[in-house]
């Protein structure tokens, strides 16, 4: 009997609508229904206690109680049955330990006068039944309310109901484990009482019972209401704006104003092409009187080669293996494969299909490097499920996911699609691994469950994708499932990544951690973006066009009184530091002195480098991933003192600015007067024209007594490069 509940359903209504059975009513105590929830609720089977891999004090339970057979066995049979003492039930270790009557490493977990104690006692008296014959089976678990709007510091009780196959329902609030995703926004007590903080925002409260999860979304709006008319008047460029404004209206916040042209130019150019605009581009764009110049700019940017290198560089972070593991030539060939596909503007579904079904030699088809690097089906599974489906399955390799529905069956069922993968040629012989290896679909091979040792049939995470006797390569079936319309996550995960890159924050964060307990900040928008991405043939450029065309993308970063605290609902643009490669390329554009990189032709841009092993103090300082790590981890986005020090004191940057062939030298040798120089410097470094005061400042610097023109230009350049306006995207 699924309870249909709508937003903010009151607690009282609930009490009448649900068939309510007293928790103490069942005469016969059942292990699954009655005992197991107590063990979970009291923390007995948590990872730090008896739930850990080898148990605690010789007593092991399955983590969070996902395996009742195992637990029943452990309690009633193991240790020669001394945990249960049928002759004198109260003397059972199962009761003496948690009540502290005999020393217990985990402290006192249970009071001797509690109803839980009574329940366990009854169960022992009744003969420790594994399953009581007439015991119903849990069919669903619900949480009410499942969504709530609260004022600052307002409280709201939660109630959880377990539904059983005999139609009965039971209030299990006292046996439910509650947890807030973000306690400062809304905290929750162990009895399910939510207390809102005093911050505008939203979060989710998770409730866990018997391996079932339910969440309650909490919205805490700004206390002062905003007249609805203000939202009606907001411009709507496309569906994105509608959905963003809807969200802002729920929270009583209003967006910042639209950004200026020069801000848009620098923002779009760095976001889409990973470079700063040239002085000429700046001038042309600012002088262009046409209404649709922003759209035309984006249309031009997505066709540039820089676009491909920029986005390939991002994907190399996620896919690129350590050359000391798989071999240098292999990494190069993988890079070429990835880069070519971004240059072709290949639809995303095709990219992923080609990648996960790749076969052939590592030097001829770079895509197979994935399977050279990740050698066992379980290693491939964690990568593929996380990157392309947004589901993190690592936990399920060893035990049921603690917060989610995923089990070891799901993990190894997914892994089974890679069970027939064959390899020929030379494998890994780190640190050189110099030979070629061939990947093919074998005729046999399987993946078995580590506990049951059962051979797993390939099974997708949800939906259907069966491998038949005629299937040549099970990976083809998986690829079909992943990219099919039934798999809404496939489109959403990539759309969320691109959204995060352009908007400064993912709708889901971390961008590849999709789960019920980590809800999107704007689910309707995520749905719409995913659908749009699918409907436009998984075209990255189309998606980027659509997002950048929205009014929301074009908002200023300066907040108003209402949205200053908003950091996740896109009511203003979120500034970010330019990423290492973009910043280095920008510096090269400014200094006019190309950097040379190992094993790369002269004039190579930082974003064209094919391995993070290429030496660059600058890129290391600004947080590119460490090539030694396996798996390589995401890069640092934040600033750090080593970065400001590097900008200030780097010998190399100092030399580049002073280079005789550099921009500063050339500008000094030019005929330009101080005000022209000011214009050039500001357009080149900040992508805008100087204000009259700024022109005056530059003029005064250049006309100081004994001022050396070239030195002054160098100093101005240095000063500008060391400001936030250069280092950040605004």
């Amino acid at each position: 009997m699924p309870v249909q509940l709508h937003q903010i359903l009151s607690h009282f209504v609930l009490l009448i609508t649900v068939a309510y059975v007293q928790a103490t009513e069942p005469v016969k105590i059942d292990f699954d229904n009655d005992l197991q929830p107590i063990l979970t609720r009291r923390g007995c089977n948590q990872g730090a206690c008896h739930g850990k891999a080898r148990g605690q004090g010789g007593f092991q339970l399955s983590l969070l109680g996902f395996d009742s057979d195992f637990d029943h066995e452990a309690i009633t049979r193991e240790a020669r049955g001394r945990r249960i003492f049928p002759g004198a039930p109260k003397r059972s270790l199962l009761l003496l330990k948690p009540t502290g009557q005999v020393p217990h490493g985990g402290g006192i977990r249970l009071k001797a006068d509690s109803s839980e104690y009574e329940m366990i006692l009854q169960w022992i008296r009744q003969g420790v039944a594994r399953r009581v014959d007439e015991a119903p089976t849990l069919t669903s678990f619900s949480l009410t309310p499942d969504s709530v709007v609260l004022q600052y510091e307002q409280q709201q009780p939660l109630k959880t109901i377990a539904h059983y196959d005999d139609g009965s329902a039971r209030d299990v609030t006292f046996l439910t484990v509650f947890q807030s995703n973000e306690a400062p926004i809304a905290s929750v007590t162990e009895y399910g009482q939510i207390t809102a903080g005093s911050i505008t925002g939203s979060t989710a409260i998770m409730a866990r019972f018997q391996g079932r999860i339910a969440t309650c979304n909490v919205i805490i709006p700004r206390p002062e209401a905003v007249p609805a008319g203000e939202y009606v008047r907001l411009p709507v460029n496309n569906f994105i704006d509608e959905l963003v404004w809807q969200r802002l209206q729920q929270l009583n916040i209003t967006p910042s104003r639209v950004c200026e042209d020069h801000v848009f130019l620098r923002r779009a150019t760095t976001d889409i092409c990973g470079r700063i605009p040239t002085p000429l581009e700046v001038q042309t764009f600012l002088e262009d009187p046409s209404m649709d110049k922003r759209r035309k700019l984006v249309d031009r940017l997505v066709l540039e080669p820089d676009f491909a290198d920029h986005w390939a560089n991002k994907w190399m972070d996620l896919l690129r293996p350590n050359p000391y593991h798989v071999g240098i030539k292999t990494v190069m060939s993988y890079d070429r494969w990835i880069r070519e596909r971004f240059h072709q503007r290949m639809p995303w579904d095709q990219f992923v299909r080609e990648l996960i079904t790749a076969r052939g030699g590592t030097w001829r088809n770079g895509a197979v490097t994935l399977f050279r690097d990740r050698r066992s089906p379980d290693e491939i599974t964690t990568l593929v499920s996380q990157l392309f489906v947004g589901v993190r399955l690592e936990c399920c390799k060893c035990h049921h996911h603690p917060f989610e529905k995923w089990s070891q069956d799901d993990f190894f069922g997914f892994a089974a699609y890679f069970g027939r993968l064959g390899r020929k040629g030379s494998g890994i012989s780190a640190p050189i691994s110099g030979s070629e290896e061939f990947i093919f679909a074998g005729k046999s091979g399987s993946v078995s469950h580590p506990v049951t040792e059962k051979i797993m049939a390939p099974k997708p995470l949800f939906g259907e994708a069966a491998v038949t006797a005629n299937t040549v390569d099970p990976r083809e079936v998986l690829a079909e499932w992943m990219t099919s319309p039934d798999n809404h996550l496939f489109a959403q995960v990539m759309a969320n990544r691109i959204w995060a890159d352009l908007m400064g924050r993912g709708l889901v964060e971390p961008v590849d951690d999709f789960r019920a307990t980590n809800p999107a900040t704007n689910q309707p928008l995520l749905d719409a973006l995913g659908e749009h991405f699918r409907n436009t043939g998984f075209s990255l450029t189309e998606l980027i066009r659509t997002i950048t065309a929205s009014y929301a993308y074009q908002l200023d970063s300066l907040p108003n009184d209402r949205n200053v605290a908003d950091t996740r609902n896109y009511s203003r643009h979120y500034r970010h530091r330019l990423r290492a490669e973009v910043l280095l390329d920008a510096f090269v554009d400014v200094s006019g002195v190309a950097r040379s990189f190992d094993a790369m032709p002269p004039g190579t841009k930082a974003k064209q480098i094919w391995t993070h092993r290429t030496t660059s103090l600058f890129l290391d300082t600004f947080g590119r991933p460490d090539p030694n790590q396996d798996p390589p981890c995401e890069r640092t986005k934040e600033s750090a003192v080593v970065q400001t020090l590097h900008l200030m004191n780097s010998e190399q940057m100092f030399r580049d600015i002073r280079n005789d062939e550099g921009k500063a030298a050339r500008l000094a040798a030019s005929e330009s007067d101080p005000s022209e120089l000011a214009g050039t410097l500001y357009r080149m470094i900040y992508a805008r024209s100087p204000t009259p005061e700024e022109t005056e400042l530059v003029t005064s610097v250049l006309s100081e007594e004994n001022a050396d023109r070239r030195q002054s230009i160098e100093d101005l350049m240095w000063a500008m490069i060391n400001t936030a306006e250069f280092v950040f995207q605004n």
Partner: protein, 447 residues
């Protein structure tokens, strides 16, 4: 070069190196990341220490092969090493801890710290901050839910002498970040190897050919040119605020003679350098002593590689003699300089290791696995009564037997010594109250 592919594998050099990385453990801490204010000025306990050198033994050092040998246990527990007698009759250290054993009169040994977080991510966090992780985390986790000791001490005891108040070398430990205290209290990382011929802390000195007056002119110009509007509200989460903070820090560093002096390890005599041991760890200890002299209140020496799942005896047999020498020299040298009274030196990791020798790693050379029920912590100086042994473990080293103490007790002891009230309440930028340490009881024997 071998791949670092063990359960320490996700130590994120980039994040580590840049200090602030651990601040952003995903969405959980994002809202906490703006600066917190301390609740008024609390009087705090009377300080006995002015600075701390933390030797962070990352990976979880074995208590058996360091400070808590079990010579009477069966061989599958005892291991391959013998013992060394300390200066206190009846108290034994492991075979290779010869100098520290002889110097126990200057130190305290705590053998009964325990907690229940036997994975690196959570253990690291607990021991480094005194707070358990709010949600279960895994071995590879790199999380921050609470400010680290170093960040708290930087905030409370930092001086305005141009030197960052919190150093870490060669990298930050996983949970060594400032969390809601803000980027200002993130550690300054010195990644370079002080044992290298041309050791220089890069980018902290002006470029060679840049005259000082020209640097001043540039700095002045930069201030005039910088027109980007700041968001001026901590809740706005403007990343430029951190950049400004770092720029200021960087500027003080470059212009501080004390700082420049402290980094110049070549000023030490070669005999002093020998004494510490001409290896990376030894020279880091020496660098830490120089930083202490320059007035830095918290220095972490990150000392990795204690996650001895395999080949424990082979690896530690080689490593421990040097390690013992460097740490003993550090304590001795501080004492000779009259600094030990006010400098707390401590060596510890995230947990101890399993009593039974293990081949779980699958190699023939055995090791010991993670074990949080008992661990040993070495302390010296800063008002710590010498020759103190606190607590003990059972015959096989399974569990702390008497004086069972928590990480909270340990971290409270450090704060207490530094004159910081461990029971004080901090406020996050959102105004959420947080206990500095939830159980503020220090270890009385060490006060």
């Amino acid at each position: 070069m071998t791949l670092r592919k063990n359960c320490e594998g996700t130590t994120r050099r980039d994040c580590l190196q840049f200090g602030i990385g651990g601040l952003f453990g995903g969405s959980l801490v994002n809202t906490l990341r703006v600066r917190g204010e301390s609740a008024g000025v609390s009087a705090g306990p009377k300080p006995t220490a002015e600075r701390v050198i933390l030797i962070w033994m990352d990976g979880g050092p074995t208590h058996f092969e360091t400070f808590d040998p079990k010579p009477d246990a069966p061989s599958e527990f005892r291991g391959e090493f013998g013992y060394a007698k300390t200066s206190i009759p009846g108290v034994l250290y492991s075979e290779h801890m010869v100098r520290l054993a002889a110097g126990l009169d200057d130190c305290a040994m705590i053998r009964s710290i325990r907690h229940s977080h036997g994975n690196h991510g959570a253990g690291n966090h607990y021991m480094m901050t005194g707070a358990p992780t709010r949600i279960p985390v895994g071995c590879g986790a790199f999380v921050s839910f609470h400010p680290s000791m170093g960040s708290v001490i930087a905030k409370e005891r930092g001086k305005d002498n141009g030197l960052p108040p919190y150093f870490t070398t060669p990298r930050m430990s996983r949970s060594g970040g400032p969390n809601f205290l803000g980027a200002k209290y993130a550690p300054f990382v010195v990644p370079d190897n002080p044992n290298a011929e041309k050791f220089k802390v890069r980018d902290v000195a002006l470029p060679r050919d840049l005259a000082v007056n020209r640097f001043d002119r540039r700095t002045d110009l930069r201030a005039k040119i910088d027109k980007l509007v700041r968001l001026n509200s901590e809740v706005a989460g403007d990343p430029v605020a951190a950049f400004d903070e770092y720029q200021e820090q960087g500027y003080s560093l470059v212009t501080s003679p004390d700082a420049q002096q402290a980094f110049d390890i070549s000023k030490e005599s070669s005999s002093m350098r020998e004494r510490y041991g001409r290896n990376e760890f030894g020279q880091r200890c020496l660098l830490a002593r120089r930083l202490v002299e320059a007035g830095v209140p918290f220095i972490t020496i990150y000392d990795g590689g204690w996650d001895s799942h395999r080949n424990l005896f082979g690896a530690l047999g080689k490593r421990l003699p040097d390690w013992d020498n460097s740490v003993a020299t550090l304590i001795q040298d501080l004492k000779e300089r009259g600094l030990l009274d006010t400098t707390l030196v401590m060596a510890m990791g995230e947990f101890g290791r399993t009593p039974r020798i293990s081949t779980l790693s699958g190699t023939s050379a055995p090791g010991r696995d993670h074990w949080a029920n008992a661990m040993s912590v070495l302390m010296a100086g800063g008002g710590t009564p010498g020759g103190t042994v606190v607590g003990s473990t059972d015959r096989k080293g399974y569990a702390a037997l008497d004086r069972v103490l928590s990480p909270e007790n340990l971290i409270s002891t450090v704060y207490h010594k530094m004159g910081i009230d461990p029971g004080q309440i901090l406020y996050t930028p959102e105004g959420r109250p947080v206990h500095l340490v939830s159980d503020p009881t220090p270890i009385s024997e060490l006060i």
